[in-house]
């Protein structure tokens, strides 16, 4: 009888330890979010969003150049990465037996695990070294390369959720395969593919490492994709590691803006996916 009680106690103790692990895992999240709001929110002002940096050490100025830079670099990356990723994803879902599908899926897994800094070195060697100058476009190319495997996977999985009967119904009505794919299968999964794309955008918007020696960063507002350009993550890095108190304040504020963008995109996308594909089956 005592053996039984002891075993019960061990079981309860382990569950207690696991609850502690859950708490320990959630503490950093709350601390990080709270610190960002406490230290960052105070520096947010209209100037912060509309002006470019003040000379080093002086107060005032903003990060308009970095916000514009992030929008342009990420926008350009999406234009390059999304079509390729989505097309490859459709291919993998529509032709599951093909040898190319196997190879593409395998390579996408490899690319998903590749450190983003390595992709940055690749973009440097490919674009910056041949053009002989840093450019926002090289940064976009690196980010696009990071997007492709993520989008490929979500697209493929979303398409696989479409019941075969839907496909068969369209084919039975005399639709050719390509129209079945485009106007039946893709139409059904479009919201899923869009949320997958949003998730990928959220992931790359916060990437710093691949931009370090491609887009490089800049103190000026520029719209020229062929020039070095600032981006929010780069600004956070430069300001956080710089010597000035004012820079540190701006780093917190820029990080707060960055995380708001990333969280709104990724939480929104996740909630949309969940509502559509988990609750409704």
């Amino acid at each position: 009888m005592t053996g039984r009680t002891l075993r019960r106690a061990v079981s309860n103790l382990m569950v207690g330890l696991m609850v502690l692990a859950v708490v320990a895992a959630l503490v950093p999240l709350f601390f990080i979010l709270a610190d960002l709001v406490i230290r960052g929110a105070g520096s947010l002002s209209l100037d912060f969003f509309t002006r470019t940096p003040a000379p080093a050490g002086e107060s005032g100025g903003g990060v308009a150049h970095a916000i514009v830079g992030t929008l342009l670099i990420v926008g350009m990356a999406s234009l390059m990465g999304l079509p390729v990723g989505i097309a490859a994803g459709i291919y993998c879902a529509e032709f599951p037996g093909s040898r190319l599908t196997w190879a593409t899926r395998f390579v996408a897994d490899v690319m998903n695990g590749t450190p983003s800094i390595v992709v940055g070195v690749f973009a440097w060697a490919w674009i910056v070294a041949t053009q002989k100058h840093f450019s926002a476009l090289a940064g976009s190319a690196a980010l696009a390369m990071l997007m492709i495997p993520m989008v490929l996977r979500t697209t493929e999985e979303m398409i696989k959720l479409v019941p075969n009967s839907l496909r068969e119904a369209a084919l039975a009505l005399g639709y050719p395969r390509w129209r079945t794919s485009l106007s039946i299968v893709l139409r059904t999964t479009l919201p899923g593919i869009v949320t997958g794309a949003l998730l990928a955008v959220a992931r790359i918007a916060g990437e710093t490492a691949p931009l370090l020696f491609t887009a490089l960063g800049s103190q000026y507002l520029t719209f020229d994709l062929n020039q070095p350009m600032a981006a929010l993550p780069l600004t956070v890095f430069t300001y956080a590691t710089g010597p000035y108190e004012e820079w540190h304040r701006n780093a917190w504020a820029a990080a707060l803006v960055l995380i708001l963008v990333v969280l709104v995109l990724s939480v929104g996308a996740r909630l949309a996916i969940r509502r559509r594909f988990t609750l409704n089956g």
């Binding site: 696991m18 450190p115 710093t208 990080a255």
Partner: protein, 331 residues
């Protein structure tokens, strides 16, 4: 739409009498498949291109240093002498510290969420921990510099030195930026990945495993530890290795916390360096061709290691959760 697409491809003579529907459909199918094939082909081609660029980029350093690159610990851009031993050491040690902290935590959370937690809180907790994975690396670095390091310097580090100071690991001056600080931030960053993949693996364990153990009189914990976890073992190991892959390649947060010094130190309080951090810090400022090539060599090695680690992880996860797609989702 079908007529325009097919019409563009058709012979001029066909303008007057359109081809029969089946033939038109075949045309459309070919165009459609062709476009998709281009997209699918681009992926392996890009990767091949990446390997090629890294290979040619590091050729100079490879020819000059060979495998001695891995064992030499001089890193002197002025004398053009490069050895990556401290970088490899720092990468492995910081990742090891990260896993040491993250694995028990994430397995505890994963087991709790898949076996014990009330249904209502499972999804919300998994969702919140997933948010940790959405926070950009540079934000972890910022938080690490201004919150975590001051905290560690006044609490955990002195405590470790006072209690475990007889070990060389916990001796020497406390600067703040250090191997241990980098390991701790890495642990926080890697945890959501290990947690979510091992949870998916545990969910893929058939219920009959649990029921059989419970029917034999096991407590719920005993059922988990004797029947569920062993069944999922290789998948859980896969999840841990996947986390290792993440930790090895993590750049920004580590760069900001590790102290960036080309040294192999016994103490965890001493600054160190990792492969990814060295590339991040020195690449845009490297002047000599050999310096650049040495950094590309480091990138190439890092790439090879992460590919091997990830391939192993996928294989192990796939063995348990075959067909469930566990671990390949982009979180």
């Amino acid at each position: 739409m079908s007529t325009t697409l097919a019409g563009r491809e058709a012979e001029p003579a066909a303008e007057t009498s359109p081809p029969p529907p089946l033939e038109r459909a075949a045309h459309g199918d070919r165009v459609f498949r062709g476009l998709l094939t281009l997209g699918a082909l681009a992926v392996p081609v890009l990767l091949a291109f990446l390997v090629y660029e890294l290979w040619t980029g590091s050729a100079l350093a490879m020819a000059r240093f060979g495998f001695g690159f891995l064992t030499s610990s001089t890193w002197d851009p002025v004398a053009e002498e490069f050895g990556a031993a401290p970088l490899v050491f720092g990468t492995l040690l910081s990742s090891f510290i990260a896993l040491l902290i993250a694995v028990p935590l994430s397995l505890g959370v994963a087991i709790y969420l898949s076996e014990f937690a009330p249904k209502a809180i499972r999804q919300p907790i998994a969702f919140l921990i997933g948010l940790l994975a959405a926070i950009p690396s540079v934000v972890y670095g910022l938080w690490g510099i201004f919150v975590l390091i001051p905290l560690l310097r006044t609490t955990l580090f002195p405590f470790l030195r006072d209690t475990l100071g007889f070990l060389p690991l916990f001796q020497g001056p406390i600067y703040g930026p250090s191997m241990l600080a980098a390991g701790i931030i890495l642990a926080i960053m890697v945890m959501p990945y290990v947690m979510s993949v091992s949870r998916e693996v545990l969910l893929a364990v058939p219920d009959t495993q649990r029921e059989a153990a419970l029917a034999l009189g096991a407590t719920r914990w005993e059922a988990v530890i004797t029947a569920v976890v062993p069944y999922a073992r290789s998948g859980i190991i896969g999840a841990v290795i996947l986390g290792l892959g993440r930790a090895l390649g993590e750049t920004m947060a580590v760069t900001m916390l590790i102290g960036n010094r080309h040294e192999v130190a016994a103490s965890l309080f001493a600054p160190g360096y990792t492969m990814a951090a060295a590339i991040a810090n020195e690449f845009s400022e490297a002047v000599g061709d050999l310096h650049l090539s040495a950094l590309a060599y480091v990138a190439f090695l890092l790439f090879l290691v992460t590919v091997a680690v990830n391939a192993l992880a996928r294989l192990l996860i796939w063995r348990v959760a075959r067909g469930s797609g566990a671990g390949s989702r982009a979180l």
